[in-house]
């Protein structure tokens, strides 16, 4: 575990040193504050559109950070020729991947804390204080979702040659899946075989990322989700994280080191 944590720390430090997060956070904050400063019919209490814009920016920023941070981990090790010397030490391929995975996930979690604290402060200034339990649930499930996305990007980094292509494909898949994943079974019933079976198989097999997106509840001031449902969604997310980690290990084992 010490070895894994040591490698995870390197990934976290790398994110802290890079400018990605600072740029995205500043951009999100400036755009949100600009949107919030608009005078709409002299009503200072209108707040939900600001939360929506902020949530959208947080979602985009977090996905970009998660995917780009993860996508470059393994290719960088190859490029800088540090992977072989790393593996020459008593470190297994599985530990390398676990370290990278954990590091990227924890780093994204730290970013989310900053984003959500900003969101909370913002809504309090607009006299529209978000309920802390729902905000916590939204942030937690968001983090679990990023765990699944990181798993996908990690597996992708062992398949695709360049980090840029991996990042692009991952982002397209994740955004598309967030948009239509929930309705894929409905779409399937309107199509002919064999497409119907393919769509239904995808619906049941791929992770339902919409379980981790509490946007509508957060924006429209709904009560918190039942804690039991949050726990099940967390286990569901962890299951897919484990599955993607296993897939990455299998891909890494088969990958040529030279």
């Amino acid at each position: 575990m010490r070895v894994i944590w040591a490698m995870a720390r390197v990934v976290i430090l790398e994110l802290i040193r890079r400018k990605d997060f600072y740029v995205l956070f500043t951009l999100a904050a400036v755009l949100t504050l600009l949107a919030g400063s608009v005078n709409i019919f002299n009503d200072r209490q209108i707040a939900r559109y600001v939360v929506e814009i902020n949530y959208l920016l947080v979602m985009i920023s977090s996905l970009v950070i998660a995917v780009t941070t993860t996508a470059r981990q393994i290719p960088n090790e190859f490029e800088q020729r540090t992977l072989l010397s790393l593996l020459a030490k008593p470190v297994s391929k599985g530990q390398v991947l676990a370290g990278k995975y954990l590091g990227a996930w924890v780093a994204c979690g730290l970013c989310l804390v900053v984003f959500y604290v900003f969101m909370m402060l913002l809504t309090y200034t607009k006299q529209h204080g978000l309920g802390v339990p729902l905000l916590f649930q939204a942030a937690w499930l968001h983090w679990v979702m990023l765990g699944v996305v990181i798993g996908l990007a990690l597996a992708g980094s062992l398949v695709f040659a360049a980090p840029s292509s991996n990042a692009t494909i991952c982002l397209v898949v994740v955004v598309g899946w967030l948009g239509v994943g929930r309705y894929l079974d409905k779409l399937a019933f309107g199509t002919a075989e064999p497409l119907q079976s393919v769509l239904l198989a995808l619906y049941y097999l791929l992770p339902h990322l919409e379980f981790f997106d509490l946007r509508e509840l957060l924006i429209h001031h709904w009560p918190p989700v039942k804690w039991g449902a949050v726990a099940i969604a967390t286990l569901y997310g962890w299951f897919y994280m484990a599955l993607l980690y296993a897939l990455s290990c299998w891909l890494f084992q088969r990958k040529r080191m030279h």
Partner: protein, 288 residues
């Protein structure tokens, strides 16, 4: 040494050319449209109407606290925006159960997924089982209406419905200003004149001004809507009903009867109009 100056000169020329092109485009567009167009009109063209429609629907989704059908759901109960319908500015084309567009859960994933998005029908401002509404939450639809009006300033429903909700929130001055902005884009529009009349009747208790505005709305309706293949009869219904009610309240029974006579020919409930007329005639006879 010469190279940086050369690059700076090139960039300055490019900036000047770009500014001249963009300025020219804006200028010619302004000339073509009589100076009524703004930035969005010049640069977005017809796309702005699509975007305006998107934000209009967004306002309705906000009105439902996020409980709103997507393109994949059954939308039959959401053909007419509910916040416009409640404001009395559109005839409902909605069919089916607005409370249950989701239907029964299709499978275990669908059932579980409903924990994570709104799955109860509400209207902002109403109390519901799971939510405690705060007074004036209807205000949350306003940013999207404002945006819709900016992108498509030629849709009278946007102005009229927004003014209704502003009026409900005791923002009479803002409602009137918004309607006047609408009249600048759509001079003499009967729907906007009608809503303006409502403000003067309900909020300002200025019956005389309300009458003048509604009479102007009626004249404009006859000029603009009557020749159309599918005129907005719903609006005519409202104008005539409000005029008749106003004349009744101010004791001008013969005028009221004149409006009711016309209303009877277009109303979906001619019997109730007939009863109204009979009641008016009776009260006039008793007074004599």
């Amino acid at each position: 040494m010469v190279r940086p100056f050369f690059i700076m000169g090139l960039l300055a020329s490019a900036a000047f050319a770009l500014a001249a092109t963009l300025g020219g485009m804006g200028w010619s567009a302004t000339l073509m449209t009589g100076g009524r167009d703004n930035f969005s009109t010049v640069f977005l063209g017809e796309t702005r109407r699509l975007l305006a429609n998107h934000f209009f629907i967004k306002a309705d989704a906000y009105f439902h606290g996020g409980y709103y059908p997507s393109v994949f759901d059954n939308q039959s109960a959401y053909q007419t925006a509910h916040f416009v319908e409640d404001a009395g500015h559109a005839e409902s084309k909605n069919e089916g159960d607005e409370h249950d567009f989701l239907g029964k859960p299709r499978n275990f994933l669908d059932r579980f997924g409903r924990n994570f998005y709104p799955s109860e029908h509400i209207h902002l401002g109403d109390e519901s089982e799971h939510r405690h509404e705060h007074h004036g939450e209807e205000r949350e639809i306003l940013p999207w209406m404002r945006l819709a009006a900016t992108l498509d300033p030629e849709n009278p429903v946007t102005y009229a419905a927004t003014a209704y909700w502003l009026r409900r929130m005791n923002k009479v001055k803002e409602a009137e200003q918004f309607l006047r902005e609408g009249l600048r884009h759509l001079p003499g529009d009967p729907q906007i004149l009608f809503e303006l009349g409502q403000i003067h009747r309900d909020a300002n208790n200025d019956f005389e001004k309300a009458r003048n505005l509604w009479e102007a709305a009626l004249r404009r309706w006859d000029e603009r809507e009557a020749p159309k293949e599918e005129p907005n009869v719903f609006l005519l219904n409202q104008i005539l009903a409000q005029l008749a009610k106003l004349e009744e309240e101010t004791g001008r029974t013969s005028q009221a009867l004149k409006y009711l006579q016309r209303l009877k020919t277009i109303s979906p409930y001619p019997e109730s109009i007939e009863q109204w007329m009979a009641r008016l005639r009776n009260s006039t006879d008793q007074n004599k």
